[in-house]
């Protein structure tokens, strides 16, 4: 959620709530946090589980002060994963300005190069440990809540949309980074091909979702996320037009109001159509092709920028979760005889508010399991 620029429908910044939660965790000695960690195995039963945790090396020790001298000591850059590789970051980096814990990370690629030694030498606090190895340790717990979230569906797999070939075809999560003030463009939405602000933008819904070829379920959030992206575009440009290609607009409950107010803008157009493909135009730009199902018109519409509303795929924990997983990969604990629960998108495609709801419920279930 730190990677998201804003939330619908308020268009407020996720880091605002994150700050409250981080502060709370920082102040609470009862909460232990392990980062760069993944679960290798779960054994035991309700009230008595052993969780084997594998922790990848950070190459930076706990006494890091986040002064940033290491980052300034090296010229080497690596792909910025926080920005979905849209930009580069120093090989010794702070994942983002609100990173928790507030400590640097050293990219493994730098190990064994003279740059690594330079990074190590720059640290006044001797916090760099280039020899750190992956470690494995066991935790003994009474209950487990899986809140492993999601990853965006790989847009390159939707071959007719030519995501891998067309620079100006991006995904919705990339749009979030482009629009974010702490993103690769400082919040200015530009075409990746030439850095120019787009004037004509297409948002394509169900890019992967509701599709037997990709994700069979509806990802729930993408319609409203695209409404939000239309709002981003309109906030940045008085001339910009936004076309939203959709099958069904799923603006559930009171979020209907957000959808209504976005499409009330005459620069935002809804086209009921799942585009068939994105062709490469004579100028190398994307051309969205398909059938407008209301008018039956066959269109081939060139755009400056196309945003694929890719869906949410659960982070794969099959095999280690200790709980049943459905055909899509969501964790669906059988009943309360287990002390294993799932929350948020690990449990199904949910929006932020529903995820918090689900997490609060899971917390109570876990408390019940250990009392």
């Amino acid at each position: 959620m730190a990677q998201l620029n804003r939330y619908f429908p308020k268009l407020c910044h996720p880091t605002c709530g994150l700050e409250i939660n981080f502060q709370r965790i920082r102040r609470n000695p009862k909460v232990k946090v392990f980062t760069l960690a993944s679960v290798a195995a779960v054994t035991g039963e309700r009230g008595d589980y052993t969780v084997t945790v594998r922790q990848a090396p950070r190459y930076v020790k706990a006494n890091c002060t986040a002064c940033g001298d290491c980052a300034r000591a090296t010229e080497m850059k690596v792909q910025n994963q926080f920005d979905y590789n849209l930009g580069k970051v120093s090989a010794a980096y702070l994942p983002h300005e609100m990173a928790f814990p507030m400590r640097y990370v050293i990219a493994p690629q730098v190990l064994g190069t003279p740059e690594a030694e330079r990074i190590k030498a720059a640290c006044k606090y001797d916090a760099v440990d280039l020899d750190e190895k992956e470690s494995t340790f066991d935790l003994h717990v009474g209950a487990i809540v899986w809140a492993t979230g999601w990853q965006p569906y790989d847009a390159a797999r939707i071959s007719p949309y030519r995501y891998a070939y067309l620079k100006d075809v991006i995904t919705n999560v990339e749009m979030e980074r482009l629009a974010a003030p702490n993103g690769p463009t400082q919040g200015k939405i530009v075409r990746p091909s030439d850095g120019v602000a787009p004037k004509k933008v297409a948002l394509i819904q169900c890019a992967g979702s509701r599709d037997y070829n990709h994700l069979e379920y509806c990802s729930r959030i993408c319609c409203l996320a695209s409404m939000k992206h239309a709002a981003y575009m309109r906030e940045q440009s008085a001339e910009a037009t936004v076309d939203i290609y959709y099958i069904d607009i799923r603006a559930h409950d009171k979020l209907e109001a957000f959808y209504r107010k976005v499409v009330n803008d005459p620069h935002v157009r809804l086209i009921k159509s799942k585009p068939a493909e994105i062709k490469i135009g004579p100028d190398g730009g994307p051309v969205v092709c398909g059938e407008n199902t209301i008018t039956r018109e066959i269109y081939a519409e060139p755009y400056d920028l196309v945003v694929l509303a890719t869906g949410m795929q659960p982070a794969g924990v099959e095999g280690v979760s200790g709980a049943p997983v459905d055909a899509y990969g969501f964790i669906v604990p059988e009943d309360e005889t287990q002390g294993i629960f799932s929350a948020g998108v690990a449990s199904g495609p949910l929006d932020v508010s529903m995820s918090v709801q689900s997490a609060t419920a899971a917390a109570l279930k876990a408390i019940q399991a250990i009392r």
Partner: protein, 205 residues
Amino acid sequence: MTTMSPTPTRPYDLGFTRWVYQNIDGGDRMALCMQCGVCSGSCPLSTTMDNGPRKTFMMIRAGMKDAVLKSDTLWNCVSCYNCVVRCPRHVPVAYILHELATLAVREGYAPARTSETNKFVKGFTWSFETFGRTDERIISLFYYFQDGFVAGIKKLLAFKSIAFAFVKVGRLPLGLPHRIKNRGELKKMLAAAAAIEARHTAGRK
């Protein structure tokens, strides 16, 4: 043909729809169509079709049997299968169109009899039944001269330059058409296929 498909009397009478769902190969999957438009959008011939596959499926649900079976959509499909591979609900769109075309022929719909595709198919069939091969020259000539001699000559002249171009690159052989060996075996195979189809059709409600 033992039975005809039912003809609806009012909009969205499901008699025909259900018949199609049950009797057309892939018809059961057609039920899953959510009208997204990927098929029609993917179709290279979509602009030449009156309805396109997506609308055709909705028309079937609406009980518009006549309009569906008279539609040129059924005849203009070139089997590129873009629609089939892209359909998010795995509806075998192209196959269904072919089945519907067959149905239209069986039930005697005029466009089926007069469509260019059908005329071409006749030439195609005659060629392989007669020679055991699909010889482009025979198919073309059969197709051109179906509507009479004058019309045939006209068509022939219209395609003159293309024909010469083909000859030039060696894609149109100039020798005599030749038959395959063992045409009797082929005839047996064709007869078996016809028997299967007849059985298949009779099995339908």
